[in-house]
């Protein structure tokens, strides 16, 4: 007997969506921390560090996320690490996130007027406090809309986990489509779940951006 795509089947998709959310949060947390380092390196006064970080960013922006994930997934065992697929995905997505957020935040840091850090330097404030108390809070404001847009991209990016076999939202959809033989409804439902996760973020990003521009 073939199952119909009904309410219970939809709940199965939502259970898969939990992995989508968990993966996103993990990658955003670790990737964000690493990305801050990338952004600071990219704007540092040492040329070598700047070039190194620019190359790092270029590599991640110039290759598909899918290839990055495969690369990490098959590369970790070579380092002698036997890890679960979700760990490999978290590492892969975090690295990807760090490069993109690094580039976004580099732009935000550079968008803070030079006078701000010059004034801080004139007051004798050291690098750490100059960054933490003066530049980064302002950069955070400028970079917020783009950061939220990237978060939406990251949520969509976690769909690739399905191709590595983690049962998140898209993979749940694949399984459900195979059971019910109703791919149109199932993938439509999957798309709607993503849509309702991402839409509030997209809207808030647009609203913050309008508000920032209104200040100017």
């Amino acid at each position: 007997m073939i199952r119909q795509f009904g309410w219970g089947e939809f709940l199965f998709l939502l259970e898969g969506a939990r992995w989508t959310v968990v993966l996103t949060l993990l990658a955003f947390t670790f990737g964000g921390a690493l990305g801050l380092g990338v952004a600071l390196g990219r704007t540092s006064k040492w040329r070598l560090l700047r070039i190194l970080m620019a190359t790092y960013i270029q590599i991640f922006q110039g290759t598909p996320l899918l290839v990055q994930l495969f690369f990490v997934y098959f590369g970790l065992p070579l380092l002698g690490l036997k890890v679960d697929v979700w760990v490999a995905l978290t590492i892969g997505l975090s690295l990807h996130t760090s490069a993109f957020l690094g580039e976004i935040w580099r732009g935000s840091i550079q968008a803070v007027p030079d006078g701000q850090s010059e004034a801080a330097r004139a007051l004798g404030i050291g690098y750490v406090h100059r960054m933490v108390d003066v530049v980064l809070p302002q950069a955070f404001r400028i970079g917020l809309p783009a950061t939220i847009s990237f978060l939406v991209n990251l949520i969509k990016g976690t769909a690739l986990a399905a191709l590595l076999g983690l049962t998140e939202l898209t993979r749940s959809g694949q399984l459900m489509a195979n059971i019910t033989f109703e791919p149109l409804q199932v993938y439509g439902a999957v798309a709607l779940v993503y849509f309702f996760i991402c839409l509030p973020l997209t809207f808030s990003s647009a609203r913050i951006e309008r508000r920032l521009n209104a200040d100017r």
């Binding site: 270029q58 590599i59 922006q61 110039g62 290759t63 598909p64 996320l65 899918l66 290839v67 990055q68 495969f70 690369f71 098959f74 590369g75 070579l78 380092l79 002698g80 939406v152 949520i155 969509k156 990016g157 976690t158 769909a159 690739l160 399905a162 191709l163 898209t170 959809g173 694949q174 489509a177 109703e182 791919p183 149109l184 993938y187 439509g188 999957v190 798309a191 993503y194 849509f195 991402c198 839409l199 997209t202």
Partner: protein
């Protein structure tokens, strides 16, 4: 770490990888052209006076931009046969990428069109240009010129995203890499090589689009 790298089977399969590169170039170029054209249609709908057309365009654009392209590809490839449209992997891939690209292109081009001041159009009209000519020379060309860098990065993203249509067996670069992987089990070497090829491809696209831009937009502005 006691793994001995062996790139020989990867390099030996270069005709296969070349075919993959050609497949990637073919599918992503077609999607770019179709996507930009369809995107302009959606942009016109988005900016039209009719509320219904505007709502439709906004709905479409937001739906596409807030769902993963992988799900869109699955929807087209696995879902469409249910309503009687059966597509090959490559056709489904091009259709899905076109639909995806159109939504992004519509928003990008809209930004460009909104940057054209009304005075320009009035000037065009005062000079006696046809409406079609006004659209072509006074609105679209300068508008696309203004947003060309953003459009180019969207196109390059499109090319990179084409890697995941391998999942519906459209024969592009990643598809052949996976085939090669199942034949030789040299996963790490294959995906490293694959990454390098994509890096080169994105540089190539960036340069090629830059040249196209310089030729097409090389009219004087002042």
């Amino acid at each position: 770490m006691n793994y001995s790298f062996d790139f020989a089977p990867v390099f030996a399969a270069w005709p296969m990888l070349l075919e993959g590169v050609i497949g990637t170039l073919r599918m992503s170029s077609l999607s770019m052209v179709f996507g930009l054209s369809l995107g302009i249609v959606f942009m016109l709908m988005r900016m039209s006076k009719s509320n219904a057309l505007r709502a439709m365009a906004i709905g479409y654009i937001e739906l596409i931009r807030n769902t993963p392209i992988l799900v869109q590809v699955f929807f087209v490839f696995f879902g469409m046969p249910a309503i009687g449209i059966r597509l090959s992997g490559e056709q489904a891939a091009i259709l899905a990428m076109t639909l995806n690209c159109a939504a992004y292109a519509a928003e990008i081009v809209r930004g460009g069109v909104q940057s054209i001041r009304p005075g320009q159009i009035e000037a065009g009209r005062a000079l006696g240009l046809h409406t079609a000519d006004i659209y072509r020379f006074v609105v679209f060309r300068p508008a696309i010129r203004a947003v060309y860098p953003a459009l180019c990065s969207q196109f390059i993203l499109m090319m990179l995203n084409s890697s995941l249509v391998s999942s519906v067996s459209a024969e592009e670069l990643t598809y052949f890499a996976q085939t090669l992987d199942s034949q030789t089990f040299r996963s790490f070497e294959i995906y490293l090589t694959l990454g390098v090829i994509y890096l080169v491809l994105s540089q190539f696209f960036s340069a090629a689009l830059g040249v196209i831009g310089r030729v097409y937009f090389s009219y004087p502005t002042k």
